[in-house]
């Protein structure tokens, strides 16, 4: 992180490369096939749908690096809620 990064948000291409690689390698190393990810996604939709109405098309899951890197990879799910069931 450079001195001026706080003021000038534009990342250098080297930093962009490093960030892209970190994400890429986490998913490469996790050995999770797209099919498995699809199965996980469908199961999440099934479970959450019991309690609330969700936008299943907008649902996005991915394996990425945890914000705290010492904790290893994490499964992030972004699940847009349409309506909370009463």
């Amino acid at each position: 992180m450079g001195v001026f990064d706080g003021f000038f948000k534009k990342k250098s291409s080297g930093e962009v490369a490093k960030d892209r690689l970190k994400l890429l390698l986490v998913s490469d190393r996790s050995n999770c096939s797209p099919e498995t990810m699809e199965l996980i996604k469908n199961d999440i939709i099934k479970v959450i749908s019991k309690y609330m109405e969700i936008d299943s098309d907008g649902l996005d899951i991915q394996i990425t690096q945890n914000h705290d890197e010492s904790e290893g990879p994490a499964l992030y799910a972004n699940i847009p809620i349409r309506e909370l069931k009463k």
């Binding site: 450079g2 001195v3 001026f4 250098s12 291409s13 080297g14 690689l21 890429l24 390698l25 190393r29």
Partner: protein, 261 residues
């Protein structure tokens, strides 16, 4: 004690063959008895980089199939009498040899040489499995690019799965001017991502092209790449050679970059 070193990368075109030629020649220069094996069957190149393409009679597949004795296929280097090349076959494919045959060949060569160095083909198929089958030590060559580093990471995983745990990294073709302005991954960035030991950083140097044109490895010459390869050889022999200090951008360079944006 002899050591079998495989030079590998996953991705093609990052400098495996150039590294093999220079590391092999450098170790021979230090007085070691060295044999280089080109395992890229069908796409042989190491002979050309070494400048020995006109001396080939027999090749790796001939040895494995028993068409000749091992000694007959070894080509002596032009400059160093203690350096030999076992060339690959140009008109065959990777299935002509299997990992068991390679392991036996390498074990035979261990008896007579201090270092057996294998130039691995790109990819992770049978050619790769052949090349690593008898190795004790792997040098992974990468460039500071996303694609090459991704493939290097995959190779590290495959080597560990094959019980090769002595793995060192060579970062090739680094350009300090680009690193300093933040447009290339630095040595530290690459190490941070791959988390393996570093054995050398080779700067992008046009002398490599000249040396390949002439078929004479430039290790040991007074060029940036020549010095970097010498250092790698000394580290392979167990010497503790400090890395040339590579500086990050200074305060004024950062300031100048800000105004450029």
């Amino acid at each position: 004690m002899s050591e079998v070193i495989v030079i590998t990368s996953g991705k093609g075109g990052v400098g495996k063959t150039t590294t093999t030629a220079n590391v092999g020649t450098g170790l021979a220069k230090e007085g070691k008895k060295v044999v280089l094996i080109d395992t890229d069957i069908g796409l042989r190149n190491l002979d050309v980089v070494m400048g020995l393409e006109n001396r080939i009679v027999y090749n790796l597949v001939d040895v494995v199939e028993g068409n000749c004795r091992l000694k007959q296929a070894l080509i002596k280097d032009k400059k160093y009498p203690n350096l030999f090349l076992l060339p690959s076959a140009q008109t065959r494919d990777k299935t002509s040899v299997n990992p068991e045959q390679m392991k036996k060949l390498v074990d035979d060569l261990r008896q007579d040489f201090d270092y057996v160095i294998l130039d691995c083909p790109a990819g992770i198929e049978q050619g790769f499995q052949n090349a690593i089958s008898g190795a004790d030590h792997a040098l992974i060559v990468t460039t500071p690019e996303v694609s090459a580093i991704r493939d290097a990471d995959r190779i590290i995983g495959l080597l560990e799965a094959s019980e090769i745990h002595k793995i060192d990294l060579v970062i090739n073709r680094i350009r300090m001017d680009m690193v300093n302005r933040g447009d290339m991954l630095s040595k530290e960035d690459v190490l941070d991502i791959l988390a393996i030991d570093l054995i050398g950083v080779v700067p992008d140097d046009e002398n490599i092209v000249i040396s390949t044109n002439q078929g004479e490895p430039l290790v040991g010459s007074d060029t940036p790449a020549g010095k970097a390869y010498s250092n790698i050889c000394r580290r392979i022999m167990g010497e503790n050679v400090p890395f040339m200090e590579i500086t990050g951008p200074t305060f004024f360079q950062k300031l100048a970059n800000v105004f450029k944006k």
